[in-house]
Amino acid sequence: MLRRLMANPLAVTGAIIVVVLFFVAVAAPLIAPWDPFDFDAKHVLEAPSRAHLLGTDSLGRDVLSRMIYGARVSLMVGFVAVGISTAIGMALGATAGFFGGIVDAVIMRFVDVMLTFPTVFLILAVIAYLDASIWNIMMVIGLTSWMGVCRLVRAEVMSLRERDFMVAAQALGMRPARIIVRHALPNALAPVFVSAILGVAGAILVESSLSFLGLGVQPPTASWGNILTEGKSTLGVAWWLSVCPGLAILITVLGYNLLGEGLRDVLDPRLKAR
């Protein structure tokens, strides 16, 4: 499987981007050249130079350092939000798919209802009532993005249910919960994994847009979205303040999408012929 993934140059590119970002986020305090919160009134809005590789912002903070710390926010939001949405989606999807009938109907109608809300506005509404801490944002993104996983898992479990080993597990007297967790879900993991990786990209985008609108991660904590907001007002004099976070978001989302799609090609047996 790894060899097939390696044969896909786009997926490899995606994987490299993801791994590098992961490393950057984890090692942020070690590799950031400056303290991201350190004001320096003498070096405000400086263009990229040897001391400040990506220049400084309107408060004299080092943009590269802030970008590096911003990667932590993106990574954490991406993974935690997707963790929440995947957990909810798998639990509800597996329940719906396994039991069918009225249980399935109720869960799937709930999914339909959730899908009718425009996600960003739903999140904005929630954030208006809760304070915009990074934890609340991750929760809200997770709670509003599980429907895709739910449908996916439901379909997988429904088809698995017809397989003999599921009937065999029942014939051995196992409880439904055990059959779902032990026998159904492990067989449905591949597509869930792909959708989770693509979901990370989505969550990062949502967090960035929220922060850009000032409703996400609050300054002084650095996030690519709020660096971009600061850059907006000084675009004429300090292009680096907007371009850097913009590019970072673009590359990150691209990286996760490339990796996700590469994995899908590898894991989906219907595409094996290619």
Binding site: G100, G101, R161, R163, D164, F165, V167, A168, A169, Q170, A171, L172, G173, M174, R175, R182, H183, P186, N187
Partner: protein
């Protein structure tokens, strides 16, 4: 007959389909004595497997359900048991093995784990003890190098091996009745014989009853004591294998036996039964075999014949032949 371990009385299992309600099992009665081997034979779609799944209450809802009838295990009606009690019956008292050893094992778990899981569930053993028991079961089903094989995944084993694993899993909790749904259909002929030999040997050794579902009359002749012949959801003939095979009563059984190819017979076109099995949504009135029957009489279109008893433990759902052949109750 030995004391009945399992008694199925007037079992009716229906499926809701787009063409209406289909009675896949339509009033089936039979008994299996403790330690006895009973064969359930019939063509594809005649209700054999559905009967077996109905016994374990595993017919998939909401499309399928058991409409009426009783399934008594040692006198206790399984149809009325609450689901948690039923789970204690499944696997522990009645176990089942399936036709396709390729698909009836979970591809992502080792075979040892799958056997140990059943053991842990019903016998309350610790993980380590259950694993040891799993290895012992693999040894019992004559898998070479069982400790090593227990760590294998299903795709690493051959079809025959996998069926042995299924048998090990089914027997791991010491069931009183094993339902084997076409256990050898998907296997090579040489492996078939081995698996049947193994099943039969283990049945005798462990003293359990075996309900063998098959369409292979050769298997029936070799392994079973009694045979039940099913046609379109009904049992049409039952009795001891030797008697039914040497002296069939129901025209369908006669037809089935005639259509078995035999060595040494002059080579000629193989006998078949004229016509097709009727669709369950379009059953004829009266006897459901009458359209294909050479002995059909006008009354056959009127009366749906019950299983008429005669001789020593024999029965046939054909009053015409019972009368004409002078069989007495």
């Amino acid at each position: 007959m030995t004391t009945p371990l399992l008694e199925v009385e007037n079992l009716v299992t229906v499926f809701q389909t787009s063409e209406g309600v289909v009675r896949a099992v339509d009033g089936v009665d039979f008994r299996v004595g403790a330690g006895e081997t009973v064969a359930l034979v019939g063509e594809s779609g005649c209700g054999k497997s559905v009967s077996a799944l109905s016994i374990l209450r595993l017919v998939q809802a909401p499309a399928g359900r058991i409409e009426s009838g009783r399934v008594l295990l040692d006198g206790v009606d399984l149809a009325g048991l609450p689901e948690p009690e039923m789970r204690k019956v499944r696997g522990a008292r009645i176990a089942m093995i399936f036709q396709e050893p390729m698909t009836s094992l979970n591809p992502v778990l080792t075979v040892g784990f799958q056997i140990a899981e059943a053991v842990q569930l019903h016998r309350g053993l610790s993980r380590a003890a259950a694993w040891a028991e799993a290895v012992k079961m693999l040894e019992l089903v004559e898998i070479p190098d069982p400790a090593e094989r227990a760590r294998a995944y299903p795709h690493q084993l051959s079809g025959g091996m996998r069926q042995r694993v299924m048998i090990a899993m089914a027997l791991s909790c010491g069931p009183e009745l094993l339902i084997a749904d076409e256990p050898t259909t998907a296997l090579d002929v040489t492996i078939q014989a081995q698996i049947l030999e193994l099943l039969d040997g283990l049945r005798a050794r462990l003293g359990m009853a075996l309900l063998l579902i098959t369409h292979d009359l050769g298997v029936v002749a070799e392994r079973a004591e009694r045979v039940l012949v099913m046609y379109a959801g009904r049992v049409v003939e039952e009795g001891p294998v030797s008697e039914v095979f040497s002296d069939p009563c129901h025209p369908y059984t006669k037809g089935l036996l005639r259509s078995v190819p035999r060595l040494g017979r002059p080579r000629s076109k193989l006998d078949t039964i004229e016509g097709f099995v009727p669709r369950l949504t379009e059953l004829p009135s009266g006897c459901r075999f009458r359209n294909r029957c050479e002995f059909a009489e006008p009354q056959c279109a009127v009366v749906d014949p019950p299983l008429g008893k005669f001789g020593a433990g024999r029965g046939a759902a054909c009053p015409v032949r019972i009368r004409d052949e002078g069989r007495n109750a």
